[in-house]
Symmetry: C2
Subunit: 493 residues, 2 copies
């Protein structure tokens, strides 16, 4: 697929001088419209062959447009050995907000591609990574990002000529490194594998644009015009309608569902029984947190549940067993404006824990398929795609030695009513009950359906849900502590 | 000053059982009021002798209050060798937002104190660092933070007994490290130096509270009650009135001021002259950015100036000389809500560059003493104290090998009017002119006074202002490029 780029594309000085001024001011005007509207972010990937002008093009774009609204990320490719956080973490963190342009020179393609070229990973692993990348990029475009991917190509002959020219001059010889020559020796292999990657990740929403890198003027005009065209097209349309990719959810034909099948009468025999078991499970958890392997993993715990199901109380029973240096509790309320300007999962990615730490989320990324779905805060296609995005997110955590533990706390409507009324009666609990709580209660059946779908679609082998019968708060707390300790124990041994 | 803590303070089981429930619920209620009002952050420092129960107290507080609104920071003390960013950077980043409690176990005291105990720094250097800390803490309290500092003390006898008890049991022997015994051997020295530090940083707004750490119940009640008392007192009052510490500014008795003395008629001879000098200075800058020592320093450039003085154009002339991997342009507009919830300088601290990078601020931290002062967006005491806070900020940057370069671009009222009118006439420049610009123009004299005060108070030896006569944009750009290159050159050689 690089054949066209193998041809000799050249733009002469006159054409360049004629076209650039107009292109520049059009690009600048489009950029300011982007900034002003702040409707979507633009993400530019610059990949390809060394020496094909990637760096020069990044500089050119920063010069043509207003650099105040461009973020350039020359992220060093991460080492293959496991880092503190998943490989995609630095990229998530560097995502530009709506209205800005983020340029990635050295992107999520760099590591898998080079790993395959060097033979560190096999073809099957590369295929898997390409699929991961494709899903990540689909999420970006689904979230509204304008994603443009440029692949800079050089023919073998041209690359050789270029390296030799640089090496021949005293002034530029330092720019040619041993790595460059080693890569050149691998040219054919690199080309074959690149073709496969470019092919496997050229999608309708984000195709690769192949650019012959031999002629600086040709590549500059090609990239500039491509960006201008895509930007203008996107700015002139309203946001594209969201697309549903998941099969439609089927309303259950009977009244049997995962929530209905819970036995909410489960309870502990006595308060004494509770105190005994509490001490035992907290002791276990504490011991586990001092296990020598604990520092090598990280733990993410998500608490979801009906209003007044006892999430806060359960979380405090967990944290009391731990040293405060080992955990962080992250309450999820309304997103900040920095969070609103980025893809939905960004606010969770930025908070994932380092090794040796536990992050306890009081409500979580599941808000998308629970409250946002039921209350209509996001469109159906958006929460429909969230299931697979969430599964991808959790899978990446698990692959990076993070234990993902998820609890759903369920109470019956009667028990919830009792607790609401108790909160209203108790002065220091009144802050815990709001008109929202009463409103949510009226949508009980819709929430039950949403929870059922959530569990069906996101209880995976690597991150299963634990459903907790929570009418008896003692029973619930012990079940949670025990399940958490079991999961950690299993992971450490 | 630790004499009282040398005494044997004990609380018996009965008193503990009697007092704790009430204390806990009062603490929790106060915490929720804090969360709801989100008026100020609470910052708790836990310092003192090893083995005096610092960690246990942090855990206790997380247990007594709602851990969802507590951030615990067990920041590893930074190594003494220079890091990528100034020593205070991790602390700035970890500051809690309004409404939250941030606990620092291992704080900005840890490194200077141990460095002095080990003899790595002398007494004079310790004094200097104590002064830095005192200024930082005054900034925190001036910004509204409730700062509570607890010093956990153990008598020498008690510390020895404690280490021996731990070491004697198989279960706990692992907790006693060689470092613990080495520190114990230095007990008297540690005590003497601690006394000096505690004394030098006990201020009216943030005194140290000395706690005898020998008895767990005594120290738990002491800390809990202190926090409760301070929190309730602070919540019951409106925000304390800001205090002016700087001497009042004197209105000039004549019409001679730094801005008035600029010769705004300065200009270049011709456009050709400009092109020549531009190429020359950009070439210099580019060469400097590839200097082998460039990777060891970082550069912060602040651009300030009248509206329409040509900041953006000048910035683009700088960035064009650089590789986009070497710089970032940071436009300063309205703060995000995460930024509004923290001290004024937080949003600048979080963006300071790593070594080898240049951060170009298009408008900067000087907004406080310019637009915020003139427009009345902040109270006089707040902008009055900003001068010294800014000087501290820049001094910390400079000490960490950051070159701080500051430009003020000045145009005459007539030239500004001409540019405003031109912007209104030119379709693709219209977005650059807003009603605000016309309003600011009416306050010309107030801005001139503010700029004069700013230059007087913040043009320091380590971070001087460069005033730029900007009626001729060519002259201005060349002056800026040359000054920047000169400063970098001087720094690298």
């Amino acid at each position: 697929m690089f054949e066209s780029a193998d041809l000799d594309h050249r733009i002469d000085k006159e054409q360049w001088a004629r076209e650039v001024p107009e292109l520049r001011s059009a690009l600048l005007a489009a950029q300011y419209e982007l900034v002003k509207s702040a409707r979507f972010p633009v993400i530019l990937l610059i990949g390809g062959v060394d020496g094909a002008g990637k760096g020069e093009t990044v500089n050119l774009l920063s010069e043509w447009m207003d650099p105040r609204h461009i973020q350039t990320n020359a992220l060093r490719p991460l080492p293959e050995e496991p880092g503190d956080r998943p490989p995609m973490w630095p990229f998530w963190n560097a995502l530009p907000p709506k209205g800005a342009i983020g340029i990635f020179a050295g992107s999520w393609y760099t590591v898998p591609l080079l790993a395959r070229v060097y033979g560190d990973i096999g073809g099957a692993e590369l295929t898997r990574r390409i699929q991961d990348i494709a899903r990540f990029e689909r999420m970006l475009t689904d979230e509204g990002a304008l994603l443009l991917k440029f692949w800079f190509h050089l023919s073998k002959k041209e690359q050789k000529r270029r390296l030799e020219t640089l090496a021949a001059s005293k002034k530029t010889a330092w720019r040619v490194t041993d790595t460059d020559w080693r890569h050149f020796a691998l040219y054919d292999r690199f080309r074959k594998i690149s073709e496969r990657v470019v092919q496997g990740t050229s999608t309708g929403e984000a195709p690769w644009i192949i650019v012959d890198g031999a002629d600086a003027r040709y590549r500059g005009l090609t990239v500039g015009r491509s960006i201008l065209g895509a930007l203008k097209k996107r700015l002139s349309h309203a946001s594209p309608p969201a697309v549903v990719r998941a099969p439609p959810l089927i309303a259950p034909v009977d009244d049997v569902h995962v929530i209905g099948s819970l036995d909410l009468t489960k309870k502990l025999a006595s308060e004494e029984d509770y105190e005994d078991q509490l001490a035992k499970q907290q002791g276990r958890l504490n011991l586990l947190s001092r296990h020598r392997k604990f520092a090598k993993i990280s733990i993410v715990v998500a608490f979801e549940g009906c209003d007044a199901a006892g999430k806060g109380g359960a979380i405090r029973r967990v944290t009391r067993a731990l040293d405060s240096r080992h955990y962080e509790v992250i309450p999820i309320a309304a997103p900040s404006d920095e969070e609103k300007a980025r893809p939905y999962l960004w606010r969770f990615w930025r908070r994932i824990p380092a090794r040796g730490r536990m992050a306890i989320f009081d409500r979580s990324w599941y808000g998308r398929v629970l409250v946002e779905r039921v209350e209509g805060f996001c469109a159906e296609p958006d929460w429909m795609r969230a299931y697979s995005e969430i599964n991808d997110f959790e899978e990446q955590l698990v692959k990076n030695d993070t234990l993902v533990v998820k609890f759903w706390l369920q109470v019956s409507p009667d028990e919830q009513l009792r607790r609401f009324q108790e909160r209203e009666r108790t002065p220091w609990k009144q802050f815990k009950i709001t008109p929202d709580d009463w409103r949510n209660r009226e949508k009980w059946d819709q929430y039950v359906a949403a929870v059922g779908d959530m569990v069906d679609r996101t209880s995976t082998a690597h991150a299963p849900w634990t459903l907790v019968e929570a009418n008896d708060k003692y029973f619930a707390r012990i079940k949670i502590l025990k399940a958490l300790a079991d999961r950690i124990e299993e992971r450490l041994e």
